[in-house]
Amino acid sequence: MAEAIKMRVTMEGNIADVKVLIQHEMETGLRKDAKTGNLIPAHFINQVVATLNGRTVLDAQWGVGIAKNPFIGFRIKGAKPGDKVGINAVDNLGARFDDEAVIS
């Protein structure tokens, strides 16, 4: 689902500033449907992994406390132009959100 994730990387000295947007409902599983009164099933991202040239630089376990359409920003020390930054997110239903950018 590449169209639901967007990443931007900028360099500040030897630090890469990474900003990522993901479009996701982030349903907690605790809300009720206003019409039927049934619980809306939980649907949220539970893991986010960022890599630099394939090496993991960030591994986050997320839960239902993260808001809808999450934004994540972080910095990678020692990155240089030409390096590849990857981001993979997986939700509790197994859907994958992947994006990749080459630092310019």
Binding site: E3, A4, I5, K6, R8, K19, L21, Q23, N69, F71
Partner: protein, 278 residues
């Protein structure tokens, strides 16, 4: 008796003079008078910064906005609008073929007055005319799809100066109607648009500062709260709800005339679409 008659004639002459003094001012005079007024009440704000509205009054909020705009939270939504704009119709044409210059640097010319149809034509009208001419389903005014499509379509005109013309009798009449709407008190709270944005521009309404009229129409649609798309006429509706008035329909004559007036007042300002607003 003779004296009384003279007085009557003099009074009649005076009334005549007074009504002559009320001759309608031209739109250009309206606009320059309004700019001079804002220069007096908000002397620190430069003309080109009027496009930022209330953000121009608060450097702290402006710096947060600038940071937000570097990688805006609506980036993914904007891609959807781009996809809609580029997807060809069933007959093989697309939106770009409906507009001169492939749709680039043209949005600032809207809305304009169509002398043949005797009405104001907004950019959204032109989009729907394009869909109709190509046998496609028209989009609903003021709704999300129209918002996303125009967000991208207008972004092709970024940096273009707003260039609305009021020429001819019909155009002037539409402009005057829009102006009258802006200044007419409305709703339970009995506010006109001008009550806040002219008389009280720069003042606080609860925690928010009120924007000035000049520059209110150069950056639509906008993403409020990051991802909630709102068109200019959608915003009119929200404002009318705020003063407890019954909003008009999007694409109604009232709103089209109001948009015409308001966009004319933003002439010469650079367009920027879409933008983030809280």
């Amino acid at each position: 008796m003779k004296q009384k008659l003279t007085y009557t004639i003099m009074a009649a002459l005076l009334i005549g003079c007074a009504s002559m003094g009320k001759a309608p001012v031209s739109p250009a005079e309206d606009r320059s008078a309004m700019i001079n007024y804002y220069k007096q009440i908000l002397p620190d704000i430069k003309f080109e910064n009027y496009i930022y509205g209330a953000l121009a009054m608060n450097p702290d909020a402006k710096s947060q906005y600038d940071e937000m705009m570097e990688f805006p939270s609506y980036a993914i939504d904007l891609d959807k609008g781009q996809k809609m704009w580029k997807t060809p119709f069933k007959n093989g044409k697309n939106f770009a073929s409906c507009f001169p210059n492939g749709g680039k640097n043209i949005a600032g010319n809207y809305p304009y007055f169509d002398n043949a149809a005797k009405r104001v034509v907004t950019f959204e009208n032109a989009i729907n005319a394009c869909l109709k001419a190509n046998g496609e389903q028209e989009l609903k005014y003021g709704e999300k799809e129209m918002g996303l499509l125009t967000a991208y379509a207008r972004s092709l005109s970024d940096g273009m100066k707003v260039n609305v013309k009021v020429e001819g009798e019909g155009a002037l009449a539409a402009y005057e109607k829009g102006k009258a709407y802006y200044y007419a008190r409305n709703g339970q709270l009995n506010f006109a648009c001008a009550s806040c944005h002219v008389q009280s521009a720069g003042k606080f309404i609860r925690s928010e500062q009120l924007s000035m009229m000049i520059g209110q129409a150069s950056h639509w649609p906008e993403f409020r709260g990051g991802t909630d798309i709102v068109t200019l006429q959608g915003r009119f509706k929200q404002c009318e709800k705020n003063v407890r008035a019954k909003p008009k329909e999007a694409n109604s004559d009232e709103y089209n005339n109001l948009e015409y007036f308001l966009t004319y007042m933003s002439n010469e300002l650079p367009m920027q679409t879409p933008v983030f607003r809280k």
